[in-house]
Subunit: 336 residues, 2 copies
């Protein structure tokens, strides 16, 4: 027998999940998160505008196969100064010819100008980039639109003034999140977010893309970026700008050789992976469409509940909870 | 300028952290988790017995470089039936010649007998392997020895009978953990664990090694193993046997090419990475010693606090909390 983990019937798992026919649904309730996603009606999927996609072509691998990474830029109200800069950098083809310079295990893959530190050799940045304040790492909580998220923020607001410590007093709706990093967590327009009732911010999860920067008060321009390849480094939340997430080709970043220098930087130029080009999605004719499962939909709620409470032929003990970053927002490619 | 993330002074980061001289310590408090680890006194480090180490040699990489992975087997009271089997399998050299058969991004790397499912071709298991019940995924909470953990479990026990819901009523010490998966979390003899007051169990974190199995009530033998390479899949806790963790060579597993078949299985034999040999540490003459930072030590407590509250030249906003799996237990190699 071939043991398998996580012990689901293979045909029901993964991105190749097979939709369950309606007749079968009537016979048996949807048992797994993937079954729920596969059964979600078309109306629950939100098309991502190609102009919000950044298509990054790494140099082909050792066998000559292409390596295309697709990044969705984050939407308002988050990090718009940085995503604006990134659009300018892409339009100026500034990213073409830079490289992956750092891969630190269980942390990040980072790319930028390898000569950025070398006096006189740094690649000049295009004109018109904005400089942001660290205040822009977060947004006004009043800008949240998701009903469930707004309800949780309102519940927290009610008692925020009275609370001396998180652990002493907090409304049930807030405590139920049991997030170690924030009083409120939820999803806003497809993005995992956290809030302290006054501010709201995107969370660092697996695949999150952020902006490398120097010591504070520097906030980075967007010319040097990283993607998370390990346990969610939520301590970076509110300390750095989140600008997007990898929605396709993540495996080309996460499987790169780890750097052996300080903090996972490569020690030699030969180890770096060149970035051939970065184009916005509307400039890439053969790019499939992409859609995410609306995080305000009933399907998403059911999916999240099932992620928190697996009980099926494999799972004997439901967890009774799930961490924010362990509810990856389902994204699918649409037929060309 | 070369932007860096996570914005620590490079010399203070990572396994190559430089110990801070005592004089410097008096001048400035230790600012980072790595500074705290580097300054921990020798007495706070616990030597790992070589007989508890499993040394797995993958086939050399494309350039002919060796790839040695070192796994620490978990200690009592956890999963002793499975680790007993693994010791027998290693003694019988059963693991020699099997392969990595599955790499699923943001989930697991899995190794076992590629022909395990093929009738008549499966590699025969040695005699004397035990079969365990799923009850052994957890241990009696009374067996916990860590003082902080015992205190939290006792606090929970006091109110467990009265609690209708986690979120409604729980002592401050319990709620402070704010873990989405369990009422109590902590560390037991160097291992991240969780508890519901009656039982205690090891948590699935990055690098955790567990036992592949078939559908329940199968619990696996230990002949097929996996290592976590992404966001902590805590939903597997209590559903599968945790038998250890990777303490060296993790990058050789985490950077393997992802499988393109169902659940990340490789589609062709050529894609698999052969496992040349597995030996227990006491049979490997050139193996360095390893030690972990005692999780009951003051150094570890200070390290954990700092992981939860970064505030330095880079971090402007301390998180105020940290998830169980975001406090990796420091392990270091000792001079040969």
């Amino acid at each position: 027998m071939h043991k398998f983990l996580p012990g689901l019937v293979p045909v029901l798992l993964g991105t190749s999940a097979i939709p369950v026919p309606a007749a079968a649904q009537e016979q048996a309730p949807l048992q797994t998160p993937d079954q729920i996603v596969a059964a979600a009606p078309a109306a629950d999927w939100v098309r991502i505008a190609p102009s919000d996609l950044m298509v990054m072509n790494l140099a082909p691998d050792a066998k000559g196969s292409p390596r295309r990474v697709v990044i969705q830029l984050i939407s308002k109200p988050f990090s718009q100064g940085w995503t604006g800069n990134i659009r300018k950098l892409a339009a100026a083809r500034w990213f073409d010819g830079i490289a992956v310079v750092r891969v630190q295990d269980n942390y990040v893959v980072q790319w930028g100008d390898p000569d950025g530190e070398v006096p006189g050799k740094a690649k000049p940045l295009p004109d018109g980039l904005r400089t942001m304040s660290g205040l822009e790492y977060t947004a006004d909580a009043a800008s949240a639109t998701d009903p469930a998220l707004r309800r949780k923020i309102a519940a927290l607001e009610k008692v925020a003034g009275m609370m001396s410590k998180v652990s002493d007093m907090a409304p049930a709706e807030v405590l139920r999140s049991r997030d170690p990093y924030a009083l409120v967590t939820g999803f806003e327009a497809g993005w995992p977010v956290a809030s302290d009732s006054a501010r709201i911010w995107p969370a660092h999860c697996y695949g999150t893309v952020g902006v490398g920067r120097n010591l504070s008060p520097d906030t980075g321009t967007g010319a040097e970026l990283y993607a998370v390849i390990g346990q969610a480094p939520r301590q970076l939340d509110r300390n750095i700008a989140v600008v997007g997430r990898v929605i396709a080709g993540m495996e080309y970043l996460s499987s790169l050789p780890r750097g052996t220098g300080e903090m996972g930087f490569y020690k030699t130029p030969e180890e770096r992976t060149p970035i051939v080009s970065v184009r916005m999605g509307n400039d890439v004719p053969d790019l499939p469409g992409y859609a995410y499962l609306s995080t305000a939909s009933k399907s998403f709620r059911a999916y999240m509940e099932k992620r928190a409470n697996r009980k099926d032929d494999f799972y004997i003990q439901p967890a009774g909870g799930v961490s924010l970053c362990n509810v990856p927002v389902p994204v699918r490619a649409l037929p060309l």
